[in-house]
Every structure is written in structure tokens, then in C-alpha cells.
């Protein structure tokens, strides 16, 4: 390919580059600059440079606690998603193309097809004090009084897992669907039953899909805030909600920016570590 041709190829991606630069990079740089601004007593940003906002983020438990809480929640959600997605992906990958598989696939990605408001309202209907779950609990005698489900941490985990489940199912389905069926047959002729074949052949060979799914879900769960906010309320100790709180009620944009970047750095660092650990492990295993 001649250099001219190479540049000609770049022309095709230019609109996307311009789009991303204008709407993603510029605000990001602006936000980064803002995170070093001092504030006055009314939390309005002042000109100048200070590390004070980062100092607050890393010393005040209100902020760093939310980062740790977010990390723990994202890990929990990623684990739950992979565990729940695996059987679904297994069934999807094994079905031959047809109306049934299309239907299953639509069901699987339905959380992505519904708007966040509708979806969250669905959870409210289910989990509110007078909701379906509580009425069932009371009616069956499992509880005397309705439980406070809606603004609880478990409800946040459930709702976020629900939203992010497709991001685990899709890479897992691809990984499982790509497995050569003859490997299962070979394992069986060598004497391994279905369980052993699953554990020794299917699971190890689907690990790339597991890791991809887990990483996508993890990264998305680190930054998610609308669903936890609507289901769990503004008091949930998650970094995204704390950023929202700083912007919407405290009006401290610089500290919100600093917390945002701390969250971004933590997400990048942990995904890199997880992906790196997997690659090292995989290389040791696969040579």
C-alpha cells in the first residue's frame, strides 16, 4: 500500500475521529483541567492550580469509601453476570439457527432494548413496599410486614446485574459457539462423561469468553449510576452517585471532576490488571 493510499484510508474514519474528539476528548480534557481548580466557599471553581480536590477524594471516607464500594460492587456484579450468563450462553450456543434461537436471543438482549426509565420502573413495581415481591412475601407468610427492598444495596446489585447481563452473555455465546463439537465427542470417546467433559474441555476453552464478558461488565458496572440511583436512591455509596451528588446538590464541580478521574483511573487500572493476569495465566497454560 502506498503512503497516499494509507492516508486515503484514514479519510474514511475521519468523521468518526472528529466526532469522538469533539464530543468525548474535548469534554474529558476540560473535565481533567477542572479537577485541578480551587474552589471558593460556595464551591464555585476559581482559576489556578491545586491538588486539593484529589487530596479530598483520597482522604475523605465519603469519597474513597465510595470508590472501594464501587470496586467491590463491580466485582460482585461481574461475577454474578458470568455465573448467570454461562448456562444461558451454553443453551444459545448449542441451538441451531432458527426462530427459537432468535426469540431466546431477543429475550437475552431485552434489557438493552428497553429504556432505562421503563426498565427501572419495572423494578420499582416489583420491589416497592406494595410491590409484587413484597405482596408475595406477606401472602405466603414468609414475612409479617413488607420488606424495604427498593432502596437497599441488594436491589441495586440485582438491577445492575439485570442491565449488564447481555454484555456477559454475548461474548460467552460467541466463545462457546466457536468450540469444535468434535472436541466434546473426542472427550466422550476417551471415557469422560458429560460433567467431566464440561469441566475439562468446555470450561477451559470458554475462559476467553468468560474473561471478556467479565471485563466488559466490570468496566460498565464501575461507571453505572442511573440505575442504582433510581433503584437504590441517592444514599447508595457508589462513586457514580457521589459524583452526581456533588454536581447536582453540592455544586462542587472540581471535586466531582477529581472523583470522576479517580474512578476512571481505578477502572483502567483494575481492568488492565485483570486482563494482564489472564493473559499471563493463559500463556502459562497454553504455551
Amino acid at each position: 500500500m502506498t503512503p497516499t493510499r494509507r492516508w486515503a484510508g484514514l479519510a474514511y474514519v475521519a468523521p468518526l475521529v472528529v466526532f469522538l474528539a469533539a464530543l468525548f476528548l474535548v469534554p474529558l480534557v476540560e473535565l481533567f483541567r477542572l479537577s485541578f481548580s480551587p474552589v471558593d466557599t460556595y464551591n464555585a471553581a476559581l482559576p489556578g492550580f491545586t491538588l486539593n480536590q484529589y487530596k479530598r477524594v483520597f482522604t475523605e471516607p465519603y469519597f474513597y469509601g465510595s470508590l472501594l464500594e464501587t470496586l467491590a460492587t463491580a466485582l460482585l456484579v461481574a461475577t454474578l453476570c458470568v455465573v448467570l450468563a454461562y448456562p444461558a450462553a451454553y443453551v444459545l450456543a448449542r441451538r441451531s439457527a432458527g426462530a427459537m434461537r432468535t426469540l431466546l436471543f431477543v429475550i437475552v438482549i431485552s434489557p438493552l432494548l428497553t429504556s432505562v426509565v421503563v426498565r427501572t420502573y419495572g423494578w420499582v413495581v416489583l420491589l416497592s413496599g406494595n410491590g409484587v415481591v413484597n405482596r408475595l412475601l406477606v401472602a405466603t407468610g414468609l414475612r409479617d410486614q413488607p420488606a424495604r427492598l427498593l432502596t437497599s444495596y441488594p436491589s441495586v446489585v440485582i438491577a445492575v446485574t439485570h442491565v449488564l447481563l447481555p454484555f456477559a452473555i454475548i461474548p460467552l455465546t460467541t466463545a462457546l459457539g466457536g468450540l469444535d463439537h468434535n472436541l466434546h465427542r473426542a472427550s466422550q470417546t476417551l471415557g469422560a462423561g458429560p460433567v467431566r467433559t464440561f469441566l475439562r474441555v468446555t470450561v477451559p476453552l470458554s475462559l476467553p469468553g468468560v474473561v471478556t464478558g467479565a471485563l466488559i461488565v466490570f468496566a460498565l458496572a464501575m461507571g453505572i449510576y442511573i440505575t442504582p440511583l433510581l433503584v437504590g436512591g441517592v444514599t447508595q455509596p457508589l462513586a457514580g452517585i457521589r459524583v452526581y451528588d456533588q454536581v447536582e446538590t453540592v455544586f462542587n464541580y472540581p471535586v466531582a471532576a477529581a472523583l470522576s478521574f479517580a474512578l476512571l483511573a481505578l477502572t483502567l487500572l483494575s481492568t488492565t490488571l485483570l486482563a494482564g493476569a489472564f493473559r499471563i495465566w493463559e500463556r502459562r497454560l497454553h504455551g
Binding site: D180, N182, L183, R185, A186, S187, Q188, T189, L190, G191, A192, G193, R196, T197, R200, V201, P204, L205, L285, H286, G287
Partner: protein, 371 residues
């Protein structure tokens, strides 16, 4: 050590095996008896049911009727992992996340063999296929031929009662395929394991096997030694599938078989005037001459329609006066010999009466499916 095939010792007995969906029988076998230590090929075109038959024996396809007995035990209802068979696949199906040794040891681990015995058996199996130095390699670091040898070692390490091979050489290039064929036969002779080899390649089946089962439409058309199925094909299908014979139909008149103007000496067959018969003649048994050089009374005149050089031989198509074509194969005997007549030449095709294969006789002239 060589275990000689014992006559009549039914190592694998298949009885009345039917498989397929309602209305579409993929497989409909009366019976097949595989002897201990033999190399049996199942030969047929794609869709003839040969792979389904193998999958029934392996346990991957549940037959709708019939029995499969291995070493006196009915295994029809046993899952594949309780049949004690080995299997080699066309695409090797090696576990990519294990080393060569790990692949070969897989079945031995499941059998909970002690480490020392396991290592010894892995070494032995790799030695058998000539890959001793490759134990720590990964499958993807090996060539196709090496991968298939690992697959063979893996299947043999568990010392299976029967080794099933599903087109194992089809993914290899022609040269390697030839080498692997020789090697596979040598290994089989050495260890004496009963092998059932599925292929669509007639040359492969003839070269490798003790016996060949020719399948068509879910049935076995003929079961016999390679020279039996080649020299004495039982049906029109076998004659045409193996060696692509010219098949002609005719009626007996004046002590001769008249197939649309081509006259055959019926030989010792008890043919009466008016009987219909189907005969076959191999392309390589037909001789061509440009003049009528005395054709023993047999033979037919025609025009060369098409001539192609295939390296060791020429393929010539002769159009006869009655509109039929005969396929003729003329061996290329060297630089000093003349090429066969080119397209458009008038020729006479003739043959030795002994080379005419009578496939079917009777009033109907229909070919029956026999076993």
C-alpha cells in the same frame, strides 16, 4: 505381535440397524459382522449413511431400531463414554489447551491410571506414531499430519476394543495422505486393533483394508475383500462407484448379449435367448485401435469425443453409433509409445471376454441391493 483375523469371530456385531428421522432413513442395515483385528473400510459417497453408521457404533447417534454388540456385550443403549472405543476425527479434534502428552494422557487420567503407568503408556503411544520428541508441544505447533498422529496416539492409548476412524486422512494433502495410509496400515498390523475406517476415497479403501463395505442409500451394497469388490462387483452401483465401470444393459439373442448393438459373448453364464442382463466393463480393460484389427467378434466402432491426459494414463471418451459413450483408460506406457487417438478419430473399442463383469441377469434386468 500380529493377531490374525479369526474367521467368524464376530467382534462387532451389528444387527438390523435403522437410524434417521421419520420418513428419511439415513441408515438401514440388515447386518454387519466385523472380525477381531481386521481393518474394515466403509466406503461410499457423501450422504450414503457411512458416517451415521460410525456414529451409531460410537454412540453419538441413537438408532431407532437394531443392536450393536461389541465383544459379546450389547452396547446399543450405552453412552459413548461407556463403550471403550477409540475415535479419530477428520479435523483431528485435539484439545488445544493441552500439550501433546496431555492429549494422549487424557483418556488414561479418566481411567485413573497411576502416574508411572500413565507416563509409560503415553510414551509408548507416541513412539508408535513416531512422535516421541513432541510430548511437550502444543497441537497448534504441529503440522496436520503430526496432529492426526497425535489423535491416533490419543485414541490408541486407552487400548480401545475398536478404533473408529472418520475420514482421518481427508484433511491432509495428497503426498501426506499416501504416507499416512502406509503408516496407518503398518500400525494396525503391529498392534492388531480392530479398525473401522470411513472414507469416500475408493483408492484409500482398497489400499488399506482387509475388507471393504460399500454403502449406498443407507445400505451395504457389497462386503468383501478389496479385490472382490473391484473384480466382482455385486451391483451396478459398486461397479460404477469403484473404478467407474461402463455399465451396459442388453438382451440375449443368437447366443450373444446385445446391448444396443454392442455384442458380448455371454461366456459360461446360463443365459437363455430373451434374457436381459447388465454387464460392466472397466475403462482400463478396453483397448482402442484405429483400424479393425480383428476384435474377437466383440467390440464396437465409435468416434473419440474427448481425450485427457492424467499423468499415468489417458482418459478417452468414445461415442458409439447408438449414442452411448464408453469411458476408456489407456495407460501411458512411456515416451516411445504413441498417444491414443485424438478427438474426432474413428476407433474400434474391444476387450477380452473374460473382462466382462456380469452384474445381473434375469427377466427384469434390475440390479438388486445385496450384501
Amino acid at each position: 505381535m500380529i493377531e490374525l483375523p479369526e474367521e467368524g469371530a464376530g467382534h462387532v456385531e451389528i444387527e438390523g440397524l435403522v437410524a434417521g428421522y421419520e420418513g428419511a432413513r439415513v441408515l438401514d442395515l440388515e447386518g454387519l459382522s466385523i472380525r477381531k483385528g481386521e481393518f474394515l473400510s466403509i466406503l461410499g459417497p457423501s450422504g450414503c449413511g457411512k458416517t451415521t453408521l460410525l456414529n451409531c457404533v460410537a454412540g453419538f447417534v441413537q438408532p431407532t431400531a437394531g443392536r450393536i454388540v461389541i465383544d459379546g456385550t450389547d452396547v446399543t443403549d450405552r453412552p459413548p463414554y461407556r463403550r471403550g472405543l477409540g475415535m479419530v476425527f477428520q479435523n483431528y479434534a485435539l484439545f488445544p489447551h493441552m500439550t501433546v502428552a496431555g492429549n494422549v494422557a487424557y483418556g488414561l487420567r479418566i481411567r485413573r491410571l497411576g502416574r508411572a503407568e500413565r507416563d509409560e503408556r503415553v510414551r509408548e503411544a507416541l513412539r508408535l506414531v513416531g512422535l516421541e520428541g513432541y510430548a511437550d508441544r502444543r497441537p497448534r505447533q504441529l503440522s496436520g499430519g503430526q496432529q492426526q498422529r497425535v489423535a491416533l496416539a490419543r485414541a490408541l492409548a486407552i487400548r480401545p476394543a475398536v478404533l473408529l476412524l472418520d475420514e482421518p486422512l481427508s484433511n491432509l494433502d495428497a503426498k501426506l495422505r499416501g504416507e499416512m495410509r502406509v503408516e496407518l496400515r503398518a500400525i494396525q498390523r503391529r498392534i492388531g486393533t480392530t479398525m473401522v475406517f470411513v472414507t469416500h476415497d475408493q483408492e484409500e479403501a482398497l489400499a488399506l483394508s482387509d475388507r471393504v463395505a460399500v454403502m449406498n442409500g443407507g445400505r451395504i451394497e457389497q462386503l468383501g475383500t478389496p479385490d472382490e469388490v473391484y473384480r466382482r462387483p455385486a451391483t451396478r452401483f459398486v461397479a460404477q462407484f469403484i473404478g467407474a465401470a461402463n455399465v451396459l444393459e442388453g438382451t440375449v439373442a443368437d447366443g450373444r448379449l446385445d446391448a444396443d448393438g454392442i455384442l458380448f459373448d455371454p461366456g459360461p453364464l446360463p443365459l437363455r435367448p430373451g434374457d436381459r442382463a447388465v454387464v460392466a466393463i472397466r475403462p482400463e480393460r478396453i483397448r482402442l485401435s484405429t483400424h479393425d484389427q480383428g476384435t474377437d467378434g466383440q467390440g464396437v466402432a465409435g468416434t473419440v469425443g474427448y481425450r485427457a491426459f492424467a499423468g499415468d494414463a489417458w482418459h478417452v471418451e468414445v461415442r458409439l453409433a447408438n449414442g452411448r459413450t464408453l469411458t476408456v483408460q489407456v495407460a501411458d506406457t512411456g515416451a516411445n509409445s504413441a498417444d491414443p487417438p485424438g478427438a474426432g478419430s474413428a476407433v474400434v473399442a474391444h476387450w477380452d471376454p473374460a473382462d466382462v463383469i456380469v452384474l445381473d441377469t434375469g427377466a427384469g434386468g434390475d440390479t438388486g441391493a445385496g450384501g
